[in-house]
Amino acid sequence: MKKTVLIILGIGLIIYISTQLRTNRMDLSQEYDNTNFDLPPGTFLEQQIRPRYNNFYRIILTKTNNPIIDSKTMIADPMRFEIINKMSGKTIREIKFSALNIPVLEKLSFTFDPISDSAGKTYSFRITSLGKDNKNLSYVLTFGGTVSKIDRNLDLRSSNNDDIIGALAFRSYYKAPVSELTVDSIQDFINRFCQDKYFTVIYAGLILVLVIIYLII
């Protein structure tokens, strides 16, 4: 009995640690990554986004090139990341960084103060390379994405190329207390699970039959 309690406590501790580490949840994602968008010095890339939840607080660009991995001369140009409210056109969050900060793991993460009323509003995030245009530059930062338009809310703009159509590969996150995240998870799960009506009914019936068999035995 004592051993069983210890095992249950051990498993409980791991689950507790895992859930407590989780103070954020993914909101939107654009996973297609079949092309690269260049960001030469003096230009910007701007991606439109419409969060589903409040407290929008992080963007992860899931594919960037990496000067260290590619063994190229690193550029130390200053860079700027902005969150722009599309309604007012104002920059509401700003992070300055250097191209040197782009991490080895090929994912570029930007965390900012949560935007409390973000749900359903249109924003864009813009990455600007503040360096001077240098035609001899051998290494240009690029971000993965797709040229096929997936969602009209995901328009991508580039100051380098007016004709650009597509979207960057990214994930956006929102921050909330664990209890709220858990409720969101369950609601989202129920919505998706119940969309496949036939499967939902058959699976629920199967579980019911198994429970009845268990109770009879």
Binding site: S18, L21, E31, Y203
Partner: protein, 379 residues
Amino acid sequence: MPLTGHRDTATLFASADKFISDGFLVFYKTHAVLYPPLAYLTLGFWQNLIRFLLPSSYPQWQSLPILYQFISFSSFRIFFLLKLFYLPFDIGTAFIISKFGRNFRESKILFTLWIFNPIVLYTTSMWGSLDIIPTFLSILSIYLIYKKKPVWGFFLLGIAAQFKLWPLLLLPLTAVISQKSLRQQIKMFLIGIIPFISMLLPVLTKPDYLTTFTSSERSTLINNASIYIGFSQYIYIFLLIYLLIIFYTENFYKGKMAMLTAISLIVLAIFYITSAYTPQWFLWILPYLIIQTVYYPQLFKSFVYICISYLLVILTYDAPLSIGLFAPFDPSLLNTPILKELFERTVVDPNKIWSVFRTINAATIIWFIYHWRIASKKS
């Protein structure tokens, strides 16, 4: 089952689909293939059998990025139906294991220990790993050999190796234990190896398959634990101990059928101790661990130690192998950081921590074997 999933399940079944549509010679020429043909053939057959139950969007679903597969509402039905294939093998293994019980009570415990085992639930029902098939076939073949049906037993062991190669490790040992004369031992070994080689022969001629297979880090794991003896040469620890077990068995256990499951246990235990095995591989040893634990109840404590240390091994892998398995429930969990990510952020060389976890796991396995040796001597 529908609430959990892993990208390996999706990609393995997608490969099986390609295997059926392209034909196996083209498939082995144009794809990076790791498994022998029977594995793809079986999974492809199942997929075609249940095609009418899968959603019409299944071909498009297969080509989606993994996160979108989890977000899709079809993922519940798809993962459930794909993993359903493993259920008869899972129940079949429980049934065969229960046959090793010496009385009704032991059979009941053996059946229960398998069906409700967290490691089985994790690897088969949650992850959807293929390993349950060779595990079932190998324990069935040991049972048939035990029941004096060696031809079928050795044939099935060869078939088991068509899914994953590890049952080949048991082949020579089983031949040595079960047969008294050298001629019979060779005959039984050939009955096992011939179907394996003949089914593999067409793809062995494909250099791409051989290159992919021999250069795979998983294929070479078995050689990693070694002692350098100079001039770029090594003593391979697993091979050394394996050969010693064969010599020992040949001298002391020849014809002792009761040792079949115990020797299989020891060989696989040595493999886990000397290689950084991936979590689903641990399923291979589980039937033998459970059988010995039920034969000698004093081993239960050591068995629990192994299960706990196995949890540490899981934690040395990324989130998709632990909390990320629940991504169909909440896709956000796919990349949720857990202990591994935490260690990687805070510890300079996390591999040292993973090595400690592996060492703890190896220690618990050695302790179990030592305990088993004492218990079996006493009885």
